[in-house]
Symmetry: C2
Subunit: 463 residues, 2 copies
């Protein structure tokens, strides 16, 4: 009698006909007639279910064919190959034991539920095939990213979550505090005394690890962050969450061209990894969520991405036989409608846009020689829009100091950042990938709330 | 002319004698006499430095042999093998170009600095050999953990950072808010109106992902978290930080024995990975930080860990020919002095302690049959004390409901957690590893602040 996993039944592992095996798992469906009963058993080891067949002389037959969904059972049975059926084999039960009861009001009955409803039971939705698939892909994609970067000499750096600075010089942030809100310490002028707070000053949740990780690129060459970031924006779109994960690779001795090459290679590598390791899950999502998913993923790895400048993009958009909600002019911060038109209608594949007007980009991006644009790049992908944003960083001490001044940033907060240039100006570049946007791209899910285990959005922080 | 990395010079890659190569990097030292000059060049690709030799007829010779430390340079030169010297080869420079200046007051001059001072320049300390090594090991250890768990069928789950519940039922937490602290909305009774906050209730930073990840174990079987966690304790010890990373594996259909086996295998696998992939860094730390480091790591992988019950541990401590600061009795929450005595003096290796008194452990741990203890386990390791804490979870709905009541926890907050049992009671177990404690163990660093890129402790949230 061998203890086996459901995934073993579908692997190359060979079982002898009539070999006795033992399985532990959860009842996905239970049904039967007078003479025969069936249980589909899941044990979490694979998306697939094992087919358990019960003959009417099995002890407990009448009870087992009506077992509540999600009952935990132990099955002892013999392997019977079924070359003409959908599944390669069945388990003919010789004994079944109920190890843990489940109530009859289990909310995940066979009928189809809306994603909205399933979000209200985020603790149970991973038990559905859809969310099982999404969260397996989330895990595999995370690992594929680590693996690609580690194999290419990148060092993983955990930049801080609690921060006293604001990387972007913009963005609404969450305050972190241990002050008693009902009894706040005050300064002489009646303001909250931040010096009494836990860190002896005001602190917030990070919006990006880029600035702190630049310090590591200037010592360890190729580095990356992969961790949670936060935006306290009152956004209620399908693409924004208050808490999300970002991957931020940063490379010393690398210019804009290098990060374009690296981000394309990284994305292709992740998709290839999923095509190999998440075959069942992608096929399931392709059949039930997005019928173009597999086609899009194969195109992603097969075709070279397009690349144009922002100025060319604006010309393309002006020529477009389409009326956009937001009119197009040079200097416009491109909206999702423009981005999607370019990559879906014009180039029909992931598209890099380079050299944006400096007015719409962050202070740390390197000025181009034209005096109007910066060495920035976005990668736009079909269905999503912007997936990656990056730039060559301003490595020249004098130019960076001037930009900190021009952007009216508090110089004392950026003193350490300037010092990175004071002690060795080095060409360096980096980019950020929104992990959940990547997951929407590789799963076909249309709402960011459905690729996050317990999503946080305005008004929602349950579980 | 081939562009190469410093690490290529020390790899198996073969260069022809007199082959011309190009390197970009930072000046680690520069010196010279009238006739010859030397630059040690680092480029972040390896802990090692390239030896650059300059003859007096090199254009710029006088400038280059006095280059400020951390100047960014491009070196063109020829490969000359040096079979009798420490390094296998030198680069005889034919041209050097300064790509980025560095100021003469660079704080990391050759003299040895204290760790305390280096923490004040956390943006520059990765440029030292010590912190280069520590942060390379941090990255490699993180990857080794992901790789081991993924290869063993575990799914990575990103549990939320912002939470409205308190996993441990204890612990001081950081509040997360967007309320204007200088103009707080109040309810009729004069208290802060949490309903006006971003998430329409009070939210905090997570202290553990365990409870939310249990929901995923009950769908995906083997799962783990690996992310930041927070404690707002006013601790000023060498082992406590306010922000630290934890790995929390959770396994369905697994009991206490299974997590003991898994945590031992995981730790050994990480150490083996480092012995293979961080050879230079470990040797450097062994020679400069902790002369017993390599010996300890080899023992860790070679010996089976010890295992005793809490009751046996208390007997052992009572027999000890040592006076402890905190007296020993059955029911005592073991202190670092007791933990270290057991694993350093008695068992001389990592030691599991099982079956703790239920009064000193969390509500979710499974009651043993004796009515006094719970199915809990800690792994103690030399130099550190507790490295891993885990337990079999109370999977029986009625018993769990009673414990929630006994511990006076708000039942509405734990309703979803109880529901995980309502719909399929399943034996399951899990454990948590403090990532920074693991890093102290594998680097020999004695202060947790020195294994975190930008440490957060009471009063400190710089950068």
């Amino acid at each position: 009698m061998t203890e086996v996993l459901v995934k073993d039944l579908f692997s190359d592992q060979q079982f002898a006909e009539d070999e006795t095996v033992v399985l532990h798992g959860w009842v996905k469906t239970a049904r039967g007639s007078k003479r025969v009963g069936f249980i589909e058993l899941s044990d979490g080891s694979t998306l697939k279910h094992a087919q358990i067949v019960m003959a009417s002389d099995l002890e407990g037959f009448e009870e087992f064919k009506k077992l509540p969904l999600s009952t935990t059972i132990k099955v002892t049975g013999t392997v019977v190959y079924t070359p003409t059926a959908k599944q390669p084999l069945e388990i003919h039960a010789t004994a079944i034991e109920v190890e843990g009861a489940s109530d009859n009001d289990y909310p995940l009955q066979k009928k189809k539920h809306t994603y909205e409803y399933l979000r209200t039971i985020a603790h149970l939705r991973p038990r559905t095939d859809t969310f099982y698939s999404v969260f397996r892909i989330r895990s595999l994609a995370a690992f594929a990213i680590h693996q690609y970067l580690q194999e290419h000499g990148f060092t993983y750096v955990n930049t801080p979550i609690i921060t006293s600075s604001d990387s972007e010089g913009a963005g609404e942030m969450f305050r972190v505090t241990t002050l008693d809100m009902n009894n706040l310490p005050k300064t002489a002028d009646g303001k909250v005394d931040d010096h009494e707070d836990f860190f002896k000053k005001e602190t917030n949740l990070t919006v990006s690890g880029q600035l702190p990780v630049e310090a590591f690129a200037l010592a360890l060459r190729n580095v990356y962050t992969f961790g949670p970031t936060f935006r306290a924006e009152d956004s209620h779109t399908q693409r924004h969450a208050s808490e999300f994960w970002m991957i931020e690779p940063e490379m010393a001795f690398a210019d804009l061209h290098d990060i374009i090459v690296t981000s394309e290679a990284l994305l292709k590598s992740v998709v290839n990894y999923l095509l190999e390791h998440a075959k069942d899950e992608l096929e399931f999502l392709n059949s039930s969520v997005d019928e173009h998913l597999l086609e899009r993923l194969h195109q992603t790895v097969d075709e070279k991405f397009a690349q144009i400048t922002y100025t060319e993009a604006i010309e393309e958009l002006k020529r477009a036989p389409v009326k956009f909600d937001v009119p197009v002019y040079w200097g416009l911060d491109l909206q999702a409608e423009h981005e999607r038109y370019l990559c879906e209608q014009v180039y029909k594949r992931p598209t890099f846009i380079t050299d944006y007007p400096k007015e719409i980009k962050a202070f740390y991006m390197r000025d181009n020689e034209d005096g109007k644009t910066v060495a920035a790049v976005d990668m736009l992908v079909p269905e999503i829009g912007e997936l990656v944003g990056g730039s060559q960083r301003e490595e020249r001490q004098a130019q960076l100091a001037k930009k900190i001044q021009d952007y009216k940033l508090p110089p004392e907060e950026y003193a350490w950042y300037l010092e990175l240039r004071k002690y060795g100006e080095t060409v360096h570049s980096g980019f950020g990938i929104g992990f959940e946007r990547l997951l929407m791209y590789v799963t076909g899910m249309e709402n960011i709330r459905d690729v996050i285990p317990y999503p946080r959005t305005p008004g929602n922080a349950d579980f």
